[in-house]
Each structure stands twice: as structure tokens, then as C-alpha cells.
């Protein structure tokens, strides 16, 4: 790594922080609906939406109503994407004449986009019509991200509430988040990206003759508009199969930088929005620091791994599967961020990362997608870990644990454990099942520990709603389409429902003022403990599995054995 690489990383971190701060304030104002500036600009659009749908955006919902609305809304979104795929050949905007998608694959894709996972068992350019991409996938890109932010907002309202069962209005939340944040952001980003050369057209794929005289099909389509939200909404589902490694999806170093920035921008802004909403910037600062530290740790391990691989291969680095346009540092930086952020877009194939870098990417997802995490989802997942840490530390200072002045009791702990446990359980059960089913093992492209990493990665990616693939695994089989589909559903809703339940049960409690006996949660000590709890919970759960996958592979690589 030379000084130019180091500067790139530094520049990335500074830009991210500087942009996330004001965006966080903006987002908080959106969620609290306090900004007169925002309502003046976006009010007319929103009001017409409310009128059309018969929504009263001010009507407070209790956690059960909120959850019910959310589930219905997501179910309808799923249905829309599912049906669009089944009937796309009979619908307009299908210049490439894509046929109907197989039902099992359609199920997987619909679940994938509804849950903000964007796992892609299909290849976009060959199997989906432009209508499916735009009216199905792109719409869900917005709505699933908005759903994440809504849950985050509801949870914060619950934590801050004073003896109230209302945690906001779901319909108002998603409308505001979509109209005021996601749409404007994506619009600007799409323009810049298109300016950098990302395609945006309704023309069918073009066929050209290459210099070698072979005919090649260049896939085209309305990509820029979808890529903007794919990056910003922690979705990650590429327009093309190669995702952001495809030159028409990510043409220049600048586009690469912007897409990387968008990866973490909203998740990081959510942390600052939390500080605003909780009227306690110290809390946000410590959460941001923890996320940043764990992210940086993953990045450091990945860089170490890549450069130690380079020493084995004679100083060249493992470039197979990586874009030569971006090089190792930008590939690793992207990989660390996309797995931390539950985004899942890639600019290099993760299977081609050196073992520990792949392991770090895998571990990032296994931690529960809380290192920045998905839009909104990272913060509500992080709050679960905060509550668990508060519980353990609170006991050690001899007081019933409390967070923001509210006691963390049986009910909350039950939900916290469910929310933290569910994704991990799905990963372990799914991966174990895969090892036991010969047909599932047939999908592996590599054997040995690398094969196990492929299995673990697929289940982690689905359960963590990340969506990136370790490539190499042929996931378009009934086993994976159905299994991973279920994993995505559990990974999403087995976290969302407990979070909303906590919002409900914390909301009705009255906060007590802090004293010298209460444990402060905005200190470095707490931050260190929080990071330790996150890593230890993840580590204890996955240490055996990881040791048989990336760890053993790394140790073998050092001995010169590559897979």
C-alpha cells in the first residue's frame, strides 16, 4: 500500500463523515416532521399521496398497528414484484423479449428486493424486462429502504417516549422518507452517475462487432436511475449481473468513489439523525465511533490479508476477479463497506478476495449488519446490541440496567435476544443443512475450505439482508432459491418485529433522570464494551464455522496452498 492508497482511504472517511453530519440533521427533521422548509417543498406531493391513499399521517399507531401496517405493505410489495416477473412477457417495456421468470426464482427475487437484501439469483440483463426492473425492483429499492428507516424512527420514538403507546405513523414515515430523502438523493446521484457514463436508456441491447470480429451483445437499459438508489438505499442489486464491476454501471474512478460514498452515507447519517432525535449527540458520537472502529478493523484485516497474499504470489496480489481499473485498495475498501453496510453491491468478486479479506467481509455480515448496516436497519440492529450491553454492564454497577433513563427488563431482553439470535441461527442452520444435502453441495465451484466459505457467505448474505454473493456458488436452484428466500424473510422480520415490540414496551415507561449511580452510555468505556459485545457475540457464534472456512484457508495459503 502506498501513500496514494492511504490518502484515498483517508479522503473517503473524511468525505463520508462530513456529508453524513448534515444529512443526519436533515433526516432527523424529516422523521420528526419539524422542518418548515421541507414541508413547503415536498408538502404538496405528500398531501396528494395522503389524499389518494386515505392516510392521516399524524395518526399515532401503537406498535402492533405499526407492525401490521408494515407487514401488509411489504407483503403487497412482494406480490407486485412476484407477479411482474411471472407476466413480464405480456407486459410493455420488454425490448429484449425476456420470458416469464420461473416461479421459484421469482419468489426468491421478490423476497430479496422486498427485504432490502437484493440477493440476485437471476442475471438482470438476460432475464428481466425493463418494466420489471423499473416498476418492480427499483420501486422496492426505495420502499424497502424507507421501511428500514421507518422502523428505526419508530424504535427511537419508543425509546424517547414518555408513557405513550404511540410510535408514529407508518404510512407517514415511509412517504416522508421516500419523498424527502430517497428520491431527491437518488435523482441527484443518478444525474452525476449518468454524467460519468452510466447508461440510462430504453433502447434494447446493442450488438457490435469487436476488433476480433466476434459479435458481442452490449447490455443497455435504464441503469443510472436504479444504481443511484441501489447504492444509497443499501440495496445492492445491480442492473447488470457483474454489478458495479461492470463498466456501464461503474465507469470511472469518480463514479466508483461516489458509489462507495453512497454505500455508507445514509446508514451513517442515520446514526447522526439518532443523536438529533434523542437530543443527545453524545450517544450518536459513541455509536458512530464504535461502528467506525469495527469497520476500520475489518478493513485493516482485509488489507493485511491482501498484502500477505501478495507476498505468497510473488508481490503481484490476487488480481483474478478484481477490476484492474480499481486495484486492490479500492476493491477492498468497497468490500469492507458493502458488507458492513448490508448493501451487497460489489466492484470485485468477493470469492476472489484473499481468504482473510473474504473472512472479514463474511464476519462483517455475521455481526448482524450493525456496522453502519442497512439504511435504518443498521441503527435498529445496533440499538439491540446497545440494549444487551447496557443489560450486562448495568448489572455490573449494581442497578437494574437502564438506557436513556428507561429500565431494560424481561420483556425487552426477550426481544433483544430474539432479534440478535435469529439471523445467526438461520446462518448456522442453513449452512449445516447445505453441508448435508448433496444436491446443494453440487452448486459449489470450489472445494475445500473455500467451498465452506461460499456456503457460509450465501446464508449470511441472505440472513443479514446483505445480498452480495461470494460468487462461485450457483444459487439458482430450488434449494437455494427457497432456502435463502426463507432466510431473508427471517433475517429481516425476526429483527424488525422485536425492534418494534421494544419500541412499544419502552414507550410506555417513564424515563428516570440520570444520577451518579446510573451507567453513562456516551463514554469511551461504554463504546469499548459495546464493540466487545458485538465482536464477542459474533465471534462465539461463528468461531468454529469460520475456523474451518476462511481461517484454515488463510493458514493454508501461508503454506502456499490456494483454492
Amino acid at each position: 500500500m502506498n501513500s496514494q492508497d492511504a490518502f484515498q482511504i483517508f479522503f473517503y472517511i473524511v468525505s463520508l463523515t462530513l456529508l453524513a453530519l448534515p444529512l443526519g440533521s436533515y433526516l432527523a427533521a424529516t422523521l420528526e416532521d419539524k422542518s418548515r422548509f421541507q414541508s413547503r417543498i415536498f408538502g404538496p406531493v405528500e398531501r396528494s399521496i395522503y389524499r389518494c391513499c386515505g392516510i392521516n399521517p399524524g395518526g399515532q399507531m401503537n406498535w402492533k398497528n405499526y407492525t401490521a401496517s408494515l407487514l401488509w405493505f411489504n407483503f403487497l410489495g412482494f406480490l407486485a414484484v412476484f407477479l411482474l416477473q411471472l407476466f413480464q412477457h405480456k407486459l410493455p417495456l420488454n425490448p429484449n423479449n425476456s420470458g416469464p421468470v420461473e416461479p421459484v426464482l421469482a419468489f426468491n427475487t421478490a423476497v430479496s428486493f422486498m427485504t432490502n437484501t437484493n440477493w440476485q439469483a437471476y442475471a438482470g440483463e438476460t432475464s428481466l424486462s425493463y418494466l420489471t426492473q423499473m416498476a418492480g425492483l427499483a420501486v422496492q429499492n426505495f420502499l424497502s429502504a424507507a421501511t428500514g428507516v421507518a422502523v428505526f424512527a419508530a424504535m427511537v420514538r419508543g425509546l424517547m417516549g414518555r408513557k405513550t403507546s404511540g410510535i408514529g405513523n407508518f404510512w407517514g414515515d415511509i412517504t416522508r422518507v421516500t419523498v424527502r430523502v430517497l428520491l431527491p438523493m437518488s435523482f441527484c446521484a443518478a444525474l452525476i452517475l449518468a454524467g460519468q457514463g452510466v447508461v440510462q436508456t430504453f433502447k434494447p441491447d446493442s450488438r457490435v462487432k469487436t476488433l476480433e470480429g466476434v459479435e458481442q451483445t452490449i447490455p443497455l437499459g435504464p441503469a443510472a436511475s436504479q444504481i443511484a438508489i441501489k447504492q444509497a438505499g443499501s440495496n445492492g442489486g445491480g442492473f447488470f449481473n457483474a454489478n458495479s464491476a461492470h463498466p456501464l454501471e461503474n465507469p470511472t474512478p469518480l463514479s466508483n468513489f461516489i458509489e462507495m460514498l453512497l454505500l455508507l452515507l445514509l446508514p451513517a447519517a442515520c446514526v447522526f439523525a439518532y443523536g438529533k432525535m434523542a437530543a443527545d449527540k453524545g450517544q450518536a458520537r459513541i455509536l458512530f465511533s464504535v461502528m467506525f472502529a469495527v469497520w476500520a478493523l475489518g478493513l485493516a484485516v482485509s488489507l493485511y490479508s491482501e498484502y500477505s497474499a501478495a507476498s505468497v504470489t510473488g508481490g503481484l496480489g490476487l488480481m483474478e476477479g478484481k477490476e484492474t481499473r480499481f486495484g486492490i485498495v479500492n476493491s477492498v475498501l468497497w468490500a469492507a463497506s458493502t458488507t458492513a453496510a448490508s448493501n451487497g453491491s460489489v466492484n470485485a468478486m468477493h470469492s476472489s478476495l484473499s481468504p482473510l479479506a473474504g473472512g472479514a467481509a463474511l464476519f462483517n455480515i455475521m455481526l448482524g449488519e450493525v456496522i453502519f448496516g442497512g439504511v435504518g436497519a443498521g441503527m435498529y440492529g445496533m440499538l439491540l446490541f446497545v440494549l444487551l450491553t447496557v443489560f450486562l454492564c448495568g448489572l455490573m454497577v449494581g442497578r437494574t440496567p437502564e438506557y436513556l433513563g428507561k429500565k431494560v427488563e424481561k420483556r425487552e431482553i426477550q426481544m433483544v435476544m430474539a432479534g440478535i439470535l435469529a439471523p445467526g441461527a438461520v446462518i448456522l442452520i442453513g449452512a449445516a443443512l447445505t453441508c448435508a444435502v448433496p444436491a446443494a453441495l453440487a452448486s459449489l465451484s470450489s472445494k475445500g475450505p473455500h467451498g465452506l466459505s461460499e456456503i457460509l457467505y450465501a446464508w449470511s448474505s441472505a440472513s443479514g439482508n446483505n445480498g452480495s454473493a461470494f460468487a462461485g456458488l450457483n444459487a439458482n436452484t430450488s434449494f437455494y432459491n427457497i432456502g435463502l428466500g426463507i432466510a431473508m424473510l427471517i433475517g429481516r422480520f425476526a429483527v424488525i418485529i422485536p425492534c418494534l415490540a421494544i419500541a412499544g414496551s419502552m414507550g410506555v415507561k417513564s424515563p428516570s433522570p440520570p444520577s451518579a449511580g446510573t451507567l453513562p452510555t456516551d463514554t469511551a468505556t461504554f463504546g469499548i464494551l459495546l464493540a466487545a459485545v458485538i465482536i464477542i457475540v459474533g465471534g462465539l457464534t461463528f468461531f468454529p464455522a469460520l475456523s474451518l472456512g476462511p481461517v484454515i484457508e488463510h493458514l493454508l495459503m501461508l503454506k502456499g496452498v490456494l483454492f
Binding site: L388, F391, L392, C393, G394, L395, M396, V397, G398, R399, T400, G405, E409, K410, I413, M417, A418, I420, L421, A425, L428, I429, A431, A432, L433, C435, A436, L441, P449, G451, L452, I455, S510, P511, S512, P513, S515, A516, G517, T518, L519, P520, T525, L529, I536, G539, L540, T541, F542, F543, P544, A545, S547, L548, V551, I552, L555, L556, K559, V561
Partner: protein
Amino acid sequence: MDKKTFWDKKLVSAALLASLVKLNPKTQVKNPVMFVTLAGAVIVTAGIIGKLPHVSGFEAQIALWLWFTILFANFAEAMAEGHGKARAESLRKARVEITARLLADGRETKVPASQLRKDNRVVCEAGDLIPGDGEVVEGIASVDESAITGESAPVIRESGGDRSAVTGGTKVLSDRIVIRITAEPGHSFVDRMIALIENAARQKTPNEIALSMVLAALTIVFILAVGSLKFFADYSAGAAGQDLSAIVTVPVLVSLLVCLIPTTIGGLLSAIGIAGMDRLVQRNVIAKSGRAVEAAGDIDVLMLDKTGTITFGNRMAAAFIPAPGVEERELAEAAQLASLADETPEGRSIVILAKTKFDLRAKELHPHEARFIPFSALTQFSGVELIGLESCPARKILKGAVAAIKAESSGFPPELDKAQADVSNSGGTPLAVSDNGRVLGIIHLKDIVKGGIKERFAQLRRMGIKTVMITGDNPLTAAAIAAEAGVDDFMAQATPESKLARIRAEQLAGRLVAMTGDGTNDAPALAQADVAVTMNTGTQAAREAGNMVDLDSNPTKLIEIVEIGKQLLMTRGSLTTFSISNDIAKYFAIIPAVFGALYAVKGGQGPLSALNVMRLASPQSAILSAVIFNALIIVALIPLALRGVKYKAVAAQTLLRRNMFIYGLGGLAAPFAGIKLLDMFITAAGLVR
């Protein structure tokens, strides 16, 4: 509790027996962590039986230690119960044998103690056991209460006053007292104490339930981690073309599972709860529920009665302020003479002050040389008239309210007027002294704050607890005492309504309020408070309103109760942290042991043996060491669980760092050392291959 009584032989043998009885699955199922351990032990044992007559020494030892793990946990719980029950049982036994001397119509009859009803009167003399809970109505005696409190120094119990309550089963050491029985059979202190200890074993407190939930969840995680490991191992073995079936066996996987699940805290959890109750009982406090004890640790505001808690009940002489031209010694002498016959605490305190300040011995005055003038509400003074003899002239020394002495004197120096106003303003009471109508000066009487109380309040402040003094005094007096005692706030001229309103206001602000009280008019406030400690000497109404009763009727006991509550949670938290930290070392022991040979080239070591950082001798020895460590650590921590983690009154942040350091980092390091030592021992003894 010293070492000798802690590991008392009888107690230990009873606990050993109980730990076998507790193997009953019906008992174990209440504790998910230990239930999983039990299931593991049964599976491994069944596997061994299934392979009879061939027995693997390694598997047999694993099975043995798994059973020990459960027995050790049972033993911890039994020890905790034993300590509490031992006291209760001996009392229960004692009570059955007691014969009471029932006093009815002036005649004494002997009846068994169990036949005593409420309001019966009984006589006890030196050497008698007190037959039931009651109140001394006649006489004074020294009583040995060691049977309940463990405190061997005798205490004084006398009629009328704060020290009138006696407890059944305690022994009168001197004198004769008449006791009015206050408890119906079956509702005595002992019965309640036994119920409390047994409840602690049966019913979990809210925080204990929440923690159990975390432990159960962790157990599920580890079941999945270990269960899936079997599949990953099979895959890896297939991929490497190796046969791992000799090492990835059911006993090994069960060992890994039991080592990982939090058996340390799981095994000690109920012992911690019971021991907490026991500590409370040791301090002579009966809690109506374990919930109240936990709540005590969360207290934000402490409301304390001034009288008896912060100050001694009575005002005492603090200074002599002489009139101009009068020696302070002369004033002291006169004041002492005037108070010699004054048996009130104030009077006695004047004699004592004169003695300590000027070494004036109290003179013996004979009736023929002096006539005492008793205090009356009408005159507002008292004093002494010395009959004139050759040696000294006749004197009439008076002391009393300033206005009253003014009226009896031939003039009042203006300097003293100012002095008496100062005394009043500082919350004290001025008493004037005159000698034959000449005003000598003023005695400053004031509420004396108990020694050491200020430090206690400072301690509470560091714990984050605000103290509020409640008093019926006027705001001026109250402010002066509050400042001297170092309380954070005070309530002057408090009425039952204003106390109740204050508690409600604090609670509305989200604070948890504790209060001590004894009178009937405290009952509403006590009922409203989150933690209410009533004095055993208090009225029945107050006792029913509170959720704890202090048998010693010592109002500062609340501070100790708070500490017990905090200690209870801290012990749970610390051992949980310790238990989880342990897992890291266990992974480093077992994973390389099981998979060290995976992907090995030609009999060499496989890559994962690099994780064997402890350099354990062999796979079998590594696994067995981890299992043995896991079992022994429970026994090693029993004393800590029963005594509780030490609580220090420092800020939460400091406490957290300290406990994190000891139990977090300690928990991380301890098993590395322990497992290595066990491995060396096992290898040296040749217990496994």
C-alpha cells in the same frame, strides 16, 4: 461470616446430599443451562453404556466431569439454602421445645410455646428462651439474639421505648421481663424467615428472570454453533479426504457445548439470589419479596426521618455562652448544679458538657443542704435552692426558657439577647441560667447529628442517591441540621400529606424512592414509596405498609439494604461476564484439539494447530482439561457467589471499569492458565492418551 462457619462440616454434608437430590430432571428443567448440561451428561453416559464392555477411559472421564459439573452447581445452591436454613431450622427446633410461663390473672402457668396466642403475657427470667415474638411490657433485660443475628454481643431489651421488641427463640441472659406476645402461631419471625429463604429458591426475581433469558438464548446459540459444527466437520473431512470420525465424536461435541454454555453463572445463579436474601436476614431485615431487595439497589432518593436517624432523639447541650463579666466556668458550674436532679436527656447532657469542658465532677448534694425545684409547664424553669451554711451563702440557681428566667431576674444583658437570637436562628434552643436573680448566661441546646452520618451521606451521594431529611421542625432549624448532617435536601414541618406528595413528585420525575418510618402517620407514605423499611418497634399499620421490616429498628439500615441490592445485581453481572469471557480460551483449547489434524500433509500438523496457543499436550488432554476447568470453576466461585462481589460506593463508571477489569479480563485470562495447568497435570498423571 468467617471461614469456619462458612465451610461448616454439617452444612457441607447436608449440601452434598441435597446436590444429589437436586439431580431430579424436574428440578433441573427450571434452569435451562444446567438442563442442557444434564442432557449432555446423560447422552455421553448412555453412549458409554451402549458400548460396554469396551470402555474408553477418555469418554468415561468426560462423563464423570459432566456429572460433577451439575453436582457442583447443585451444591452451590444447596450451600446457599443451607446457610439460611441452618439458622431457621435451629430456631424452629428450639421453639418447639420452649415451655412458656404464661401469666394470666396474676398466676403463672407452664404451657408449650406453640399454644401462645396474640396478646398473651409471658414471663422470662435469666436463662429462659423467649417463647415467641413480642414486646416487653415490664422490666429490662439483656438478651442474647445470636440465634437469629449471629451477633454474640447481648442486646438490651426494655419496656416502653425503641428497644421493646423481642423475638422468639432468643435467650434472656439477665433480669426478668414480661412480654406481650404479638404474633399468632405460624406468623412469627422464624416462619417468615423460612418462607423467605424457600421463596428465594422457588420464585425468581424480575432481574433474575431477565438474566436467565439471556443465558437461555446464549445456550441456544451454542447448541446451534456446536450442532452445525458436526456438519461443517463432515464437509471438511470429505473435502480434505480425511477421516475425522475418531475425534469428532458425540462426547467431544457435548464437551465443547458444555464448556461454551454459561454453566458458571447458570450454576451459581440461584445460589446468588438465595445468598442475597440470606445476607439481608443476617442483618435482621425481613423482606416481603425478593423484588423489593432488587429495587433497593435502584434507589434514587432516600427519605429519612431526622429524629433517631440523623440526630439522636434529644437535644443536647453544645455550648455555654456567659453574660458579660461572667466566667464561662462559673456559668458551667451553676448550670451543672441546676441540672443535677434533672433526669431529662437535656439535663443530663448539661452535666456531661460541664464535666467534659471543665472537668467539673457532679457533686453529691444531700437533701438537707439543697432543695430541688422541678420543672413545670407553668414556670418553664427548673433549678436548685442551696440552703445557706457557713461555708457558702444560700443560692437559688434557675435554668429555663429565656423569657421565664427574664421574668425571675433583675435585668437581662442586651449582649445575651443577641446571643439567644443567634442560637435560635441556628436551629438550637437557648436556655438561660440565673443565680439569685443574676443572669449568668445561656446554654446552647441543639440537635446533635450522629457521628459518622455525614460520611454515610457522602457515600450515598457517590452511589448516586439523593438524601432527603424529613422533620417536623421549622424550616430554620431543619436547614441548620440538614447543613450539618450533609443531606441533599430537607422537608421541614412535614405532615403525612406533604410526605406523600413529595414521594409522588419524585416518582413522577422517574425516581425510585426509599423511605424509613415507624409511626401510623407514616403508613400512607410508606405504602407509596418503592422501598419502605419499617422499624420492628413501629406500629402495626406502618409494618403492614412497608415491604421490609428491620428487626433492629435501626433507620440507617436502609443504606446496608441498598448495598445488598446492588451487590446482588453486581454479582450476577460479574459472574455472567466472567462466564462468557471464559469461552474464548475454551475455543482455543478445543477447536485446535479437534481440527488440528485437518488438511495435514503426511502425518504432520494441520494448519489449525496454529490456534493451539496454550501448546496443550494432546487433543484428548486438551478437551478433558477444558471440561474439568469448567466444572472446578463453579466450586471455586461458590464463596464469591454466596458472599457477593464487593460493593464500593463510587460512581457507576468507576465501578464498571473495576469489575470489567477483574471479571472481564480476569475471565479472559484465568482459563488459559487453568486449562494449561490441568493439561500438564493430566499429561503427567497419564490420565488420557
